[in-house]
Symmetry: C2
Subunit: 271 residues, 2 copies
């Protein structure tokens, strides 16, 4: 239990994890945040578990060297494939994005019929179905990899005919697996930028309301709970935000879109 304000380390394969930082800044404005985006090696979502684990450990080492009290793994792919290795290598708690996303999904799902969308690696790992069924064995969980959604979000094509056509193709496959889905988990930190289109197409395909769970927000809620919830520290404001990236390409263009503010510093690091 932390009595004073803490330092939270967050890493992601790229800029997408800034959606987690945004949620943290809103929920816990008193904590200092150190963010690392491994933008030189983004995306993790198309790489093998072995490579994802190696890169994730390097990211975490950087955060631990900066004396963080808690590590948040914003990257769904890293959470899905590297969490045991990350916990093994860390003296401070490590929270991934999958378990909080699974808990959120079960909280909002009426009939425990849940669809998950994410990268090839996240979906291939089976981490979301596993986490959801561990909490509620009677759940029905289906998943679909959606490789085009990340570049769509980065292009800013989030509300047009192409976004709708791509969302329709992927979500059609998801609903073909279970037409009775009532909940959609956005299992990638880029996807909140496409939330409106995904929700619209999902409801049109389902013909009934669909609860949409954003794993970035779920992770921020889990961090809040870790620090004792709403009665505890981190509410007073004044926390700093320092961002690091392994490559600077497009950061200035993309970061504000994901973060909604300008960080105190944005530095290039070689890990």
């Amino acid at each position: 239990m932390h009595l004073g304000d803490a330092r939270i380390g967050v890493f992601d394969s790229g800029v997408g994890g800034l959606t987690v930082v945004r949620a943290l800044r809103s929920a816990l404005p008193g904590h200092d945040i150190i963010y690392l985006g491994d933008t030189a090696r983004v995306p993790y979502g198309t790489k093998s578990p072995r490579t994802v684990e190696r890169y994730s450990l390097a990211c975490q080492r950087f955060l631990l060297d900066h004396a963080v009290d808690l590590v948040l793994v914003a990257c769904n792919t890293a959470s899905a494939t590297a969490l045991p290795a990350l916990r093994e290598a860390s003296a401070v708690p490590v929270i991934g994005v999958v378990e909080p996303g699974a808990e959120s999904a079960l909280r909002v799902s009426r009939h425990r019929r849940i669809g998950v969308i994410g990268t090839l690696a996240t979906v291939g790992s089976g981490a979301y179905p596993r986490a959801i069924r561990a909490l509620a064995p009677d759940s029905v969980v289906v998943a679909e990899a959606c490789p085009l959604l990340v570049p769509l979000a980065e292009e800013g094509w989030t509300d047009d005919d192409i976004a709708r056509a791509v969302a329709h193709r992927y979500l059609s496959r998801l609903f073909a697996q279970d037409p009775g889905l009532d909940t959609l988990v956005l299992g990638c930190t880029h996807y909140p930028l496409l939330r409106a289109v995904l929700a619209e197409i999902a409801e049109a395909l389902a013909g009934h309301p669909i609860a949409v769970v954003d794993s970035a927000t779920a992770l921020a809620v889990a961090a809040d709970a870790h620090f004792g919830g709403s009665a505890r520290s981190g509410r007073a404001g004044g926390g700093s935000l320092h961002c690091f990236a392994t490559d600077t390409s497009r950061l200035e263009e993309l970061a504000p879109r994901f973060l909604g503010e300008r960080p105190a510093s944005f530095a290039l690091v070689d890990i």
Copy 2:
């Protein structure tokens, strides 16, 4: 000048460069080929020039350690941003994909009005316009980055309504810059998989014939010329093909689509 059969090293950021290998196997079947795809760090196209240079040098070092007589840089991004550094670091000749592509474009263009499509990094580097204007200063060259085309090619969505809508959006921007374009350079090794759709949309937008230049084929032609052209070595067949990659994810699925054959070996390396 090589009197016997030679060993050619080819590297790319991922599997796309296998389109170059395919063209080489057809043009120079007697030469041994060593291919390295840096699939752990793909794509290079969204990274900064400094990072692309660092990764490209590591790839080339691997090929030089395997005693190649010639290095072919199949990656347009690496060719556009790292060629001087690569040549500086190599005792054997290094040929990039940009100059052969520029020469091919000028050979087929009737009015020297050329459009180039590629990744963000390739287009941002200005390498194609520079190479074309160095050969023909009166050329008109425009370029457009097309980040969605690589994931489309990898999804295999190469001949459908989404491919057409994406191609239409990008090529509309290209033709808005110069409606009189007569030549389209595919400045990324993934794009030959979308060649039919790109050619169809380009001609529809232009209202006149468009010559399409594939930089992968252009590089194979340049390698052939390096070895003395059609009268020289490498024609007899029997050359071996050994492929290496820094990550195995999706290779088995993607490689045959790009290569058209199964290599003698496909091994994982850590560079």
